[in-house]
């Protein structure tokens, strides 16, 4: 889940229009960019889709860290393809956000100066090759939990972007699990590395879904608008139930002494992550916040001459073509 703590905006609009809008959503109609929509719907979506897009882009950094050090040429090619996909996912989402009347450069600038956030998970470092396995398996796994239902979201461009993303995302999770299987069946040192990666990524992955929001008004509004399809707790529970057997298959131990199967609810009971750590990371005090934003700012600044140069070249060619006609 790449969008966390999105607060929905209240709408002070004509109640009749609002009711008609809600009726369209309730009937399962898609809202398209040129349709009337409440300002709150528009603003909340820009924030949510924008944060999701930023997460895809910043999410390239922890994995990019290992491209040059992948253990084989095949793993390197696969990791490159995955990181390239993340760039593509960011682009699909930026385009969806742009249909709501915000420009790409505005979105980028809001990421770079900290006005917009990205998922807390990407502020953790990737220390060993096993982390590439854990990220694909757990982080992409958690993202899929949220993205699959979002394919049915009410905003047409967002829904279409999600459909494209989901088609590609399952490759990401499987390649991660494939790395974990190889490590878990490897030498003692490799098994230890795999266990260590699980230990470090388990709770940050649970945090991806955000704190419990079952009593939140923002969450209720977003769910009525169908831009949020499930509560954070529902998705977290689903993720744990799916992931624990996968860890068992690997012969790895989920780092939670309270993890037990609850027959009555048909799911696992598990420990909550440390929410004070989550809020610190969101505030900018995670292990890699500074490094991540510095990397994005550097890429943006270093690329300025290319962006401007290509525009100047295009203008020159257009002028030459006009002169020749």
């Amino acid at each position: 889940m790449y969008a966390q703590m999105i607060k929905s905006e209240a709408s002070a609009e004509d109640p009749e229009k609002l009711a008609a809008f809600q009726a369209r959503i309730d009937a399962g109609e898609k809202i398209e960019p040129k349709d009337w929509m409440p300002e709150g719907y528009r603003k909340t979506l820009i924030r949510q889709i924008g944060q999701h897009a930023h997460s895809e882009i910043v999410g390239q950094l922890p994995e990019g860290n290992w491209i040059t050090r992948a253990p084989t040429l095949e793993r390197k090619a696969i990791l490159l393809a995955k990181v390239q996909d993340e760039a593509g996912h960011g682009l699909y989402l930026y385009c969806a956000a742009e249909t709501l009347g915000v420009s790409r450069d505005e979105l980028t600038e809001m990421l770079l100066d900290g006005r917009m956030k990205y998922s807390s998970i990407f502020n953790y470092p990737t220390l060993t090759w096993a982390d590439m396995g854990a990220v694909g398996w757990l982080v992409d796994g958690a993202a899929i939990m949220n993205q699959v239902p979002l394919q049915r979201t009410s905003f047409g461009p967002y829904s279409r972007a999600m459909i494209r993303i989901c088609k590609e995302e399952s490759f990401h999770q499987r390649q991660g699990y494939d790395i974990m299987m190889k490590m878990a069946r490897g030498t003692d040192a490799q098994r230890k590395m795999a266990q260590d990666a699980l230990n470090r990524f388990w709770y940050p992955s649970l945090m991806m879904f955000g704190p419990s929001d079952k009593d939140s008004v923002h969450s209720a509004q977003s769910m009525a608008w169908k831009i949020k399809m499930n509560t954070n707790d529902e998705l977290r529970q689903k993720f744990v139930d799916q992931t624990v057997p996968q860890a068992e298959y690997l012969g790895l131990t989920v780092p939670d002494p309270n993890l037990t199967w609850n027959e009555e609810k048909g799911g696992y009971d598990f420990s909550e992550p440390d929410w004070s750590e989550f809020f610190e990371v969101i505030k900018g005090n995670g292990p890699c916040n500074t490094e991540r934003l510095e990397a994005r700012n550097k890429a943006w600044d270093d690329g300025a001459w290319v962006r401007e140069g290509l525009m100047a070249h295009a203008a020159k060619k257009r002028a030459a073509k006009l002169a020749a006609e």
Binding site: D85, S103, R307, H313
Partner: protein, 94 residues
């Protein structure tokens, strides 16, 4: 100079004999770069045999408020569908 690259809409034909279909959009400084970017962004998994790109500002779109005048007239003309006419079985396949 701070000028954002213009927006392009991308259409991809997936197989011979099918129409190009809108797949999304992207930013590029000119048509040539738009094609190159479209290839990277929208055809990473054999999705296409042909790509069209068109600058978004050149597209004229109908407005949602025109829905009534544009599409309602066709609703009352059911005789435009073949199933409107009953053909006796004896007449054979038609």
């Amino acid at each position: 100079m701070s000028k954002e690259w213009p927006l392009w809409e991308v259409f991809v034909r997936s197989q011979h004999g099918l129409n190009h279909r809108h797949v999304g959009s992207l930013h590029a400084p000119d048509a040539e770069m738009a094609l190159k970017n479209a290839r990277d962004v929208y055809t990473r998994r054999n999705e296409g045999l042909s790509i069209w790109v068109v600058e978004a500002r050149h597209i004229t779109a109908s407005s949602p408020s025109d829905k009534g005048p544009l599409y309602e007239p066709s609703e009352s003309k059911v005789y435009r569908h073949p199933t409107f006419f009953d053909i006796p079985d004896e007449a054979g396949h038609m």
